[in-house]
Structures are given as C-alpha cells and as structure tokens.
Symmetry: C2
Subunit: 351 residues, 2 copies
C-alpha cells in the first residue's frame, strides 16, 4: 500500500556495478565485462558474479550507460497521433524490431502541427537518441535542420516523394488517391467527390486529394467536388461533410474518403438520407480500419502495409547504425474491394 502518507517514496534505484563488485571482491569493470562480454572471464568468476548480480537484483543503469558509451540505446519516434491509431501498428512493429536489439523507443506527437512537431523533435533530441523516425516527408525547416545537425540516421515513414533528410519508407499517396478515383470510375461512378479531414499540414492527405483530381482529369472529367475540414477525421465529421456535399452537389455518386473513420459516418449519413450504397453511391475509404469489413455495406478501402513500414524502418535504422548508407523505399499497398463499391455485382466479404 505504498510508503504511507506524507513524504513520497524515496527512489532507491537499485544496486550499482560498484556494489556488486565489492560484494564479489573484484573490480567494477570486471563486473561490467561479465555482463557485456562474458566469454572474456573465467567461468568460475563468472558464476560468482552472476550469483551476486542476481542476489542484488542488479538492473543496469541505462542512463549512465548511455552517457558513458559511444551512443545511446534510444530511438526517437514522432507520429502525428496515436489517438486515431492510424500509426499504432507501425509503431508496434518498429518497436518490436528495435527491442530485439535492445533499443528503446521514445515517442513524441506532432498533432499534425509543424510547430508541435518541431517541439517534439527537439525534446526527443535532448535524450541523444541513436536514431530518429518520423511520419511524413515534408517538414518544418527547423525540423530538417535539427535532424541534419544531429548527425544521426533519420527515417521518414509513411510518405515518399519529397526530399528525404536521410532515409525513407513510405507510400506514394498521389498514386493512392488516383487509385481510389480510378476504382470508383471503373465501377461506373461518374461524379466523384473527396470527403474528409484535410489539415493544412497533412501533406499525405493533400497528395491523395491531388491524386483523385489527376485521375478525374485523365478520364476527361472535371475537378472533384470537395467537402473537407481541418477538424480531426471521425464519423461525425464524415456525416456533416457529406450532408453539406449533397446539398451543394446532389449529382455526386462516388466518394473517396480520407480515412475509414470518416467513411463510417459517410455511410451512416447516406443511409439516413435514403441514398443506397453501392447502388446510388460508391464509397471508398483509406486505412482499412478494423471495423471496415463489418459495416453494412462492408467498406472498400486502401490497405497500407503498416507492419511492413514499421519493420523496414527498424531494419534501416539498425543497418544504418552499422554503417550502411541511407535508403529510400516505396512500399506497395492494395485496395480491398468490398460491398461499398460493388455496384451491379455482389462482392461479399467473408463472414
């Protein structure tokens, strides 16, 4: 039940290498080597040291280790947001890859705001990470400068196509937008609109939007109708935007959404207005969220290879730390076609 009211607990912070050494009767760095290079000790001594380490519950102080060593065992990661879990799977895969080599991930959030991103980068840099990973390829110039000056490997994730600071692993978001529109056109929808959250500095979302426009132009159609907002993309936003959209453009029969969460609200609002999906209107999302296959109708969506991006980022960081050169990778994605764009035919998601 804690240490009673009043004074907070006294950090005791465990045994030190010196205490273990004293206990065994050897020098401090013999113990250090027992941990980092056991084979350089005679087995007998090693055994005694191991016993002492265990008895005293020794936990190496990574802070001291980082300060003394050539580099820290930290990797800084900046994502736009964990909350809407767009990047949770990326971070999880990245962390798994790094943890296997004993690197700890430190997370920062940009909240889709360049100034806050710069703040997060600065804060993370204070911990002298061995490398950094961040979402996006276009950054505030302070961010690029700080990262460049830090002289550590930097991997930009999720997007490609801009000027990479060092390395990059991501998708071509313009191509994704094109594919969303082309899919709708191929299914016979003609009046395509873009609906969703479009924050000023979310370059990926803007690129997807541009991709949609490109595909329409290529098909000899006009500009897409737009219903966007700088608010966070959630179902309620989707509902409000589509209501506004249909008021202005009743002819719209194909909707490319900027996220699945928005698409959920779009489907609900269309249903409430008596517009049938996919017969009257086709809807395609982005992100392939967990619920998308369970909606009615099931939502067609673009599936980003989240785990692969996280895994590759970890690989590049580790390789880079071993002296390999920077890399820029584009990863493939696909469209999961489900009922929300199944006009004419019936595409059923597996039960």
């Amino acid at each position: 039940m804690g240490q009673g009211a009043g004074g907070g607990p006294q950090p005791r912070g465990g045994a030190t290498l010196a205490q273990v050494a004293a206990r065994v009767g050897v020098s401090l760095n013999t113990v250090s080597r027992a941990i980092r290079a056991p084979h350089t000790l005679r087995p007998e001594l090693l055994g005694r040291i191991a016993a002492a380490l265990d008895e005293l519950n020794y936990v190496p102080n990574r802070i001291a280790g980082s300060l003394a060593g050539t580099r820290s065992a930290l990797v800084g990661v900046v994502v736009s947001s964990l909350f809407h879990s767009e990047f949770a799977a990326v971070v999880e895969a990245l962390q798994t890859g790094l943890l296997a080599r004993d690197f700890q991930v430190m997370l920062g959030h940009s909240h889709y705001d360049p100034a806050r991103e710069a703040g997060a980068v600065r804060a993370l840099l204070g911990w002298r990470p061995a490398a950094m990973a961040l979402v996006g390829i276009d950054h505030h110039r302070d961010v690029s400068r700080m990262l460049g000056e830090a002289g550590i490997p930097v991997v930009q994730m999720w997007d490609v196509g801009g000027e990479a600071i060092d390395s990059a692993v991501g998708m071509d978001h313009v191509a994704i937008g094109r594919a969303q529109a082309e899919h709708l056109l191929a299914r016979g929808y003609r009046h395509v609109a873009v609906v969703g959250s479009l924050r000023p500095h979310d370059a990926r979302a803007h690129k997807r939007c541009r991709g949609v426009a490109q595909a329409l132009a290529a098909a000899g159609l006009g500009e897409p109708a737009l219903a966007t907002s700088a608010e966070p993309g959630d179902p309620d936003l989707g509902g409000r935007l589509v209501a506004e959209l249909l008021a202005r453009h009743p002819e719209v029969d194909g909707i490319a959404c900027n996220s699945d969460a928005v698409a959920y609200g779009v489907l609900r609002a269309l249903r409430a207005r008596g517009r049938r999906v996919p017969d009257d209107v086709g809807v395609v999302g982005f992100g392939d969220a967990e619920a998308s296959a369970c909606l009615v109708p099931a939502l067609t969506s673009v599936r980003p290879p989240r785990a692969a991006i996280g895994r590759l980022t970890a690989e590049i960081i580790l390789a880079r730390l071993e002296g390999a050169g920077p890399r820029q990778l584009e990863v493939a994605w696909d469209i999961l076609v489900r009922d929300s764009t199944a006009r004419g035919s019936t595409v059923s998601a597996p039960i």
Copy 2:
C-alpha cells in the same frame, strides 16, 4: 540525402554547456543556471548567454541531466498493447499531462503476458524513471517486487480492487460485467452468453465475465454460456466464437462481448445466420470503439473514461513526486445504449 554511402553518420550531438560557457566567457554552471534559474543572473549576462545558446543551437542533454540530477525526467508506462488501441487514448492523455511538466513517457508492452510484462518493467526500470504507470492491478510477483524495490511512485491503471502496489486509477470490472448482463436482462433477453477473447492473464476480462455470472445468478438464472478464446479479440474471432456458441446453445438471445471489435464480428455473423439484432438477439460490447455508433444496428457498449484515467494518472504521479501520499481511485463509466439492444422499442443513435 544523408552523408553518402559507406560509413554511417557521425553523431555530433550538439553543443555542450561547457562550449556555450567558453563562448560567452563565463563558467559552465553559470550557463546551467541561466537555463534553470534565470532570475539569479543579471539581465545583461543573461542576454549574452541566451544569444550564445541560440547561436549554437544548444539542446540540453537530458541523459547527463538525469544522471547528475536528483531524479530523471522519465515516466515508464506499460500497457497490454497499443495495437488494438484500447489504451491509446489513455496513454495520450497521460503523456499530455506529463509533458506539461517536462516529463517524457517511455512505453513498454506486456502483450497480455506476465513474463513479457516483467521484462518490460525491468527494461523500463533500467532507465531509472521517476515513476511508473501500468495497466492492471494483478501482476506477476516479480513485477510487484521490482516496482516495490524501485521506491518510486507506481500507478496501476484501468482496474481496481486488487492490492495496489502504490496508487491506482481504474474501473470495477466485475461491476461492468454485471451491468452488461443486467442491461440485457432489463431488455428482456433471458439466455445470456459471454463471447470474446479471454487471455489467461487478462484479469479485467475475467472479472467482467464473473460480473455477468453474478448478475445471472442474482436473477435466478443459470451460468452464462461461454464462448471464449485466448486469441486476440478481433471481428473474425467474434464471428467464429458466435458460430460455435449458437451450435452448442441455440437458445442464446443475449450476448455480452469482451470488446467492441469482437462484437462487430458477432453482429456480422448473426446477420449471416439470419438472426435479427436486436429482435432475436441483443448484443452489448465493451470499450465503445469509434465505429460502434456506425454499425447496423449501432452497438450498445460500455464506455470507459479513457482520457480521465490518463489525466488522473498524470496528476497522481506529479502529486506523489511532490510528496503527496498514494491514492486509489475508482472512476465511473457508463453504458451507451444503442440499437443492438433496443428490443421492442427503437433507440436511434444520432446521425
């Protein structure tokens, strides 16, 4: 484009306090005080130091600071999983509260496995955090021992009712399970079952399960039918479990799910089998995920106060660090009633 192929980048790691001091022509710790206690310097000197700090792009080395200082500016946080985003909002709120006081959050994952949780706690403790927060109230004895010996504030989140190591902020999961069942019974469902992921060491899930049984017993009904699995809770699992459940217990007309993701699959599978929700079967979820209000029928679910739990955890940690005593808080939750349990009447979620 990085530093060319071959050698990795050379960590340069920014200017040091000593370099800034040399530049200004003052001693190292005058600069240190310029940062931590500006009012103890004469304004003129302060100005010159500020200029040098800025020119050299000085970023304080938190590693060195933590080693030298009385305590580190880190808080370790262990969650079961970020992936299914159950805890993403909790972590986000916690981080926001801590960041305001310049504490950095370090994340670890237990993957619902006591051994991995112990590993995560040990790894985090290596960074000598000023405090720790973790999900759950029942832990591997190694975890309790390590945490106890660390002598730092510890907040256990999400659950209450066990023996807290220090402080706790959570919900009564037995009561939640009871409420799920009571809600179903109140709506006229009589044959209540529990469906979902039930990992051996997910104490919260087991408690909710027990709560359901308690409510049935109190109503003079028998044990709930169970369809559970140790696999992660996702829609596919829900679909498989409900198929199996209905084969064994065709009389079931009320289903309490252990998570909303599982409930999505349950709804889909019921629909595929021609069972109407809510007319034939009532379904209640847990977690109130983003899509739940957009399903057809919209899913009734228990909504945990995620942001409040994160915020309160931050508050307790900060207070504890200032010398306040440990606290154990139970937070309130509620049931969002939607269409999936609206038998007889029509409850509509707002569009």
